[in-house]
């Protein structure tokens, strides 16, 4: 571990070619430390990472501090405006509800915390599922020539499916049986995660397959095979670590799409049950009264957009940081 700033390292690299320079013992550096150093040079990505961590903390730790139940009705305090409105007019505001309340007196801040939890959990779970399926299909297709044709035709078929309509169909048709099997929230959660996961693994599979196809012809794989390493071990020890960077980049992009897709489903009324807030659901529920209360649309919308923007920027920075051709420049 070195605690020096990255540019100091770069200086050392530059003078390394100079024979008169004092030779400094370079400590062994972890690969991920290099990635982190490169990542830190992308200012937008770092700011986005900070923002994303803040949002995650807000949704996870927020309810511990802000102990209002997002579903608690408080009809006396209904339709409160956010506290910031007090700046330009005497409106119904209260410090007890800084973001205001909705038409049933439910606290908007508590709802956005709860909704963010669900939205982020759905996004993360769906992304992990899609990455697992995509990596599995990609590695199998790239490594085993016999399965390549079949699996890639399958991938092409999935790419030709109209995904959003199909997702809507799946949501509508399998909602009730899953709800009765796993309970209203669990059932919908499983359905949405499975739906998004099953319909978004194809790009990962293609990228991973391409990389595996090239990697498996390398000498070190041949060497591993020559000492009798079984295929399973070659895949887990030699191929997977080397395709990790494209997988991580497509994971961040997948997280962004999954969050948007979940919100879109909620917006179209095919997501979670009515009393169960997610960002998309809060936004959709507020649309009929948005002329009077625009903040109820803007706040969850901003939360979705900024989170997705942050995730996209992180993906951008990660792509640069993980590319060894750019790193160290």
């Amino acid at each position: 571990m070195t605690n020096r700033a990255p540019h100091a390292d770069a200086d050392n690299l530059l003078v390394a070619g100079d024979p008169t320079a004092p030779v400094e013992a370079v400590k062994a550096r972890n690969q991920w430390l290099d990635v982190w150093d490169q990542f830190r040079t992308h200012k937008g990505a770092v700011a986005s990472l900070v923002f994303l961590i803040a949002i995650i903390l807000f949704t996870l730790a927020g309810p511990l501090v802000w102990r209002l139940d997002p579903a608690a009705l408080d009809i006396r305090n209904k339709d409160l405006r956010p506290i910031i409105n007090a700046l330009w007019g005497a409106e119904k505001v209260a410090w007890a509800h800084p973001f205001g309340t909705d038409n049933l007196g439910r606290d908007l801040m508590a709802q956005i915390m709860q909704g963010g939890r669900i939205s982020l959990a759905v996004g993360a779970a769906a992304m992990i599922l899609a990455i697992l399926i995509g990596t599995f299909v990609g590695v199998i297709a790239g490594y085993f020539n016999r399965l390549d044709g079949l699996l890639m035709r399958l991938t092409d078929l999935f790419l030709a499916l109209p995904l959003l309509p199909l997702l809507l169909v799946m949501m509508l048709l399998f909602r009730d049986p899953l709800r009765s099997a796993f309970g209203p929230e669990q059932g919908i959660f499983i359905l949405i995660v499975a739906g998004i996961g099953i319909t978004s693994w194809m790009h990962t599979a293609r990228i991973v397959r391409g990389d595996v196809l090239a990697l498996k012809e390398r000498e070190y794989v041949l060497a591993a095979r020559s000492i009798g390493t079984p295929s399973r071990r070659i895949i887990t020890r030699h191929l997977l670590p080397n395709v990790l960077s494209p997988i991580m980049v497509s994971a961040t992009l997948g997280l962004a799409t999954a969050i948007i897709t979940e919100s879109a489903l909620s917006f179209l009324g095919l997501g979670f049950p009515p009393d169960f807030p997610t960002w998309g659901k809060i936004l959709a529920d507020s649309v009929p009264r948005m002329t009077a209360f625009p903040e109820r649309v803007v706040l969850p919308g901003l939360a979705i957009s900024l989170t997705v923007l942050a995730v996209n920027y992180i993906g951008d920075g990660l792509r640069d940081a993980l590319d060894p051709r750019i790193r160290g420049l």
Binding site: L161, L164, P165, L166, V169, L268, M290, P294, G301, S305
Partner: protein, 335 residues
């Protein structure tokens, strides 16, 4: 080239058949009941007869080929008959919607113009904005314009249409009151005043959809231009003393357009999917809204037909993109 196109067309037939089968089985396995909305007072035997009348009495291996026949043979016959006054269809059974009890394709034909107007216009606008942005960002790489362009396209990727649309409504309809928030499809354009109204109501849905198109296409345009600007032939052209405008707009642009054209072609079916949400926000009664209504009403024939039409669009535009690639780029040989 022709043999390649022909071969691809042949391959797309089993692909489409398989997709149709997947959609059909998904709808078939699903426990949704089209009779669920009927009053409970209807006696069971009457309900059974109604099910039969909806065509639900037969098992799936009879109904699926029947649907295929109706979609690929009967419906084109009806279309041909109405176009040329012939009588090929001879009163054959068409695909009937459960909800409206009218032929599915009649409803689709009514909804098509709205979707094509809004979606098509937004795509054209989006591409027209994106191309110059991409060209300038690449030509002035890392300039302020490029940075702003990158940021705007990031926003285009990140802000979902159901938020950008609603935000536009809040700003331009609610606060400023400049534009109508609802797209009135019964509006008839017959003079300048009504044309202006039409223009006003199209601005917001078109811009919402165009933002996403612009974000994508301008990125591709920029990357493609950057690839070509570094090539040797550009230096040669400049060395010959050609004007900068000729170098960029003729030599570089033409070569850069090759991948961009295929991206534009590939994006056309995707925008129909995105239009589902935008149509919902601006209350455009197009195909997307039709799909939502059909889904909510368990209208299986309508859902099946619409989803399959989307699938046809995707497969066809994939094919068109590949063929265009071969047409525009002489280096690519498929044969």
């Amino acid at each position: 080239m022709l043999t390649y196109t022909f071969r691809r067309l042949l391959i797309s037939i089993p692909t489409l058949l398989f997709i149709a089968f997947v959609i059909f089985m998904l709808l078939e396995l699903a426990p949704g009941d089209p009779m669920a909305n009927m009053p409970l007072t209807i006696p069971p035997e009457v309900k059974e007869k109604m099910r039969l009348a909806l065509g639900l009495g037969e098992p799936w291996w009879i109904r699926f080929p029947l649907w295929l026949k109706q979609f690929f043979i009967v419906e084109p016959q009806y279309w041909f008959d109405s176009a040329f006054g012939t009588n090929f269809a001879d009163g054959a059974q068409r695909i009937i919607s459960f909800q409206s009890r009218s032929p599915v394709f009649d409803t689709i034909a009514q909804r098509m113009p709205q979707t094509l107007w809004v979606v098509g216009m937004s795509y054209v606008v989006g591409v027209l904005i994106a191309l110059p942005i991409g060209i300038i960002s690449a030509y002035r790489q890392y300039s302020v314009f490029d940075q702003v362009g990158t940021f705007v396209s990031m926003i285009g990727f990140s802000v979902p249409p159901f938020f950008s649309g609603v935000l536009l409504i809040v700003i331009f309809s609610v606060t400023l009151g400049w534009l109508p928030s609802i797209y009135d499809t019964t509006h008839v354009v017959n003079d300048w005043a009504s044309f202006k109204v039409q223009l006003m109501q199209m601005v917001m849905p078109v811009m919402v959809l165009a933002l996403q198109t612009t974000a994508q296409v301008s990125r591709y345009m920029r990357a493609s231009m950057l690839d070509n600007l570094g090539q040797d032939y550009v230096r040669t052209a400049r060395a010959k003393g050609m004007k900068e405008s000729v170098v960029v707009m003729r030599h570089v642009l033409r070569n850069s357009m090759i991948p961009v054209i295929t991206v534009i072609a590939l994006g056309i079916p995707a925008i129909f999917g995105g239009a589902i949400i935008t149509e919902q926000i601006f209350k455009v009664n197009g195909l997307g809204q039709l799909l939502i209504i059909a889904l909510q009403g368990n209208d299986i024939p309508m859902v099946m037909t619409l989803t399959f039409l989307f699938a046809i669009l995707i497969v066809m535009f994939n094919l068109i993109a590949d063929v265009l690639y071969g047409v525009f780029d002489p280096r690519i040989r498929y044969d």
